[in-house]
């Protein structure tokens, strides 16, 4: 662990695969930028790989002040030990106060290994991060500007706010798709710090024999928020409303079988008995009547908003929020409300 270091930077682990940056670290940049600005410190991105220096500009455009670039032929393919070794060394060298990882397969494999080696705290699968003060119950002392690591626990039945007051860095993994993607600013300036990397074969205990990945299709099962459109949306062009609402919420776009059959969207996005069964925190049903086959695939959603102009639509029976109205007016109003809220925060 490192000592409490108020001047320490906020870091984001910039996960890349085969020289391509993942969406998740870019999503984390807007929140990390906000945390760094609140604390008055710089935002650092941690980029490991083999010949990945071409990615540094993109990280700066998305909000990084500094990119720590660790390049080595042995970092080409991710392995737990080699990546953990390099990041532990960088943590001890630069003493960041916060390190954030995406809660991806790699992030959830890597971050606990680092936390154990550094003997620092780690909170898994956060859905929000904030800066706040904590009052110690025993002494009444107030610890200022700690990282509030906010996550659902106990099967989603409680929301816990976790802190790590003493043994820094404060570290968290953050769920994919819960933070909106920031707009890149190609005029932003930052600088790159090249780190020397020493690795021995000991840090590479795995032989990666084969790897098969599909191009990343939409994975509705892991989406926390889903915006789904039905036949009521009317046309493929008009289905853009569903995409726009999904984009501004960091949500996955989805559809009923009827909408898929009408060619509004690809089959990968279909929710229902013959499509994917989903249990997101929030399901927004746009122009969906709510046939039982569709309900079978989404009725377990924690919160359901239904937008429909038919007061007798079955979807209204299972919705938590019923909006009776024209989706062409309601959806743009929702987008406006979300964007205004985002600006105020």
């Amino acid at each position: 662990m490192i000592d409490v270091n108020r001047k320490g930077q906020v870091w984001v682990f910039a996960e890349q695969h085969r020289g391509r940056l993942d969406d998740t670290p870019l999503e984390l940049m807007s929140k990390a930028r906000h945390l760094a600005d609140t604390l008055g410190v710089q935002l650092g991105a941690l980029l490991l790989g083999d010949r990945v220096s071409n990615l540094t500009d993109k990280l700066i455009h998305y909000g990084a002040d500094v990119v720590y670039l660790a390049e080595h032929p042995l970092l080409g393919a991710y392995q737990t030990n080699s990546y953990a070794q390099v990041i532990c060394d960088l943590i001890h060298k630069h003493k960041p106060q916060i390190v954030i990882y995406g809660a991806t397969v790699v992030g959830r494999d890597l971050a606990p290994r680092i936390a154990s080696a550094v003997k620092a705290g780690l909170t898994a699968d956060c859905t929000d991060l904030q800066i706040g003060d904590h009052k110690l119950a025993k002494t009444g002392e107030v610890l200022q500007n700690l990282l509030f690591q906010i996550r659902p626990a106990f099967g989603g039945n409680i929301i816990a706010t976790i802190i790590n007051p003493q043994r820094w860095p404060q570290m968290a993994t953050v769920r994919e798709g819960v933070m909106p993607m920031p707009e890149p600013d190609v005029k932003r300036k930052g600088h790159v710090v090249k780190e020397s990397v020493k690795l021995s074969p000991q840090e590479l205990p795995l032989d990666i024999l084969q790897e098969h990945t599909r191009p990343r299709k939409v994975d509705l099962k892991v989406a926390r928020i889903i915006v789904a459109g039905g036949a009521g949306v009317g046309s493929k062009d008009n289905f853009k409303l569903v995409w726009d609402l999904a984009n501004c919420l960091g949500a996955a776009p989805a559809a009923t079988r009827a909408a898929v059959d009408l060619g509004f969207i690809d089959h990968d996005h279909q929710v229902g008995q013959t499509g994917t069964t989903v249990r997101p925190s929030l399901y927004i049903a746009v122009g969906i009547s709510g046939a039982i086959q569709h309900q079978a695939g989404m009725a377990q959603s924690q919160k359901i908003i239904a937008i429909n102009n038919d007061p007798d639509a079955p979807i209204f029976h299972i919705a938590h929020y019923r909006i009776l109205g024209d989706l062409n007016k309601v959806v743009p109003r929702m987008i406006r409300a979300i964007k205004e809220k985002a600006i105020k925060d």
């Binding site: 959830r108 494999d109 290994r113 990945t213």
Partner: protein
Amino acid sequence: MAYNLVVLVKQVPDTKRITGEAMNDDGTVNRSALPAIFNPEDLNALEMALQIKDTHGGTVTVLTMGLPAAAAVLREALYRGADDAILVTDRRCAASDTLATSYILSCAVKKLDYDIVLCGRQAIDGDTAQVGPQLAEKLGITQITYVEALVGLQDRVIETRRNIGNGWQQVRARLPVLLTVVGEANEPRVAAAKRLMKYKKALTPIEVDTLAKTRSDDPSAAARAAKSMAGQLESRGLLITQWDLDDLEADLNWCGQSGSPTKVHRIQSVVLTARQSKDIEPCQAGIDDLIHELISDKVIA
């Protein structure tokens, strides 16, 4: 060759089965009303260990840290085919976060001979998936997470297939390794009737003490009865091993609250309003209010 297999399991509240009886009047969850179950993916880890034993021979030792009641999952593991079971229980373990938990478990695993340590990917009460990798680091061994299939095992070399979300990866490593196993890996076997009949009598020393106390009001008589009962169980292979932190020679600075860097700042209950619903006016003001409510309920960020 035969392998020493250690499986880490956890007793968890069944968070997936929240029924009306498990709800408080204010809509929050009454945790004590939820049944305690064998963490689902730990059953997959146990099944993988049992399959290795079936093919190659060896021993399967099941280890859990928890309250005395966690002995129930050890018995379930014995019904399914585990050879040995160990309960780590100590009041000083309370309030351990994942780092302290992995330290305590590492002290216990280091007392055993092991070639392969198997854990479920994650437990359904916390869903952190952190203890496996943290334990591997503390043991100084290779971790292979998200294992969905054992592809090969020969001498000291293991090949597994990992589920990497949008595909899979096949990796080879030298033992010792720690595997975290996902639910798709296998179909856990059910309890064997013969083993169930035998091991339902298996008890931990703490359970023996409790039982003796219910049978006698005289403390010294109860202690004598407990000792004799424990001796009888042990001779029949039915006394479950029980360790406390002293047995583990654990450094108390790294256990429990003092060993846990993370602290809880606040807990908010999510009020389940599944049967309640609300009409929202389709005008801008109505929708603004809705978005505001969703943000303050943390439904959207």
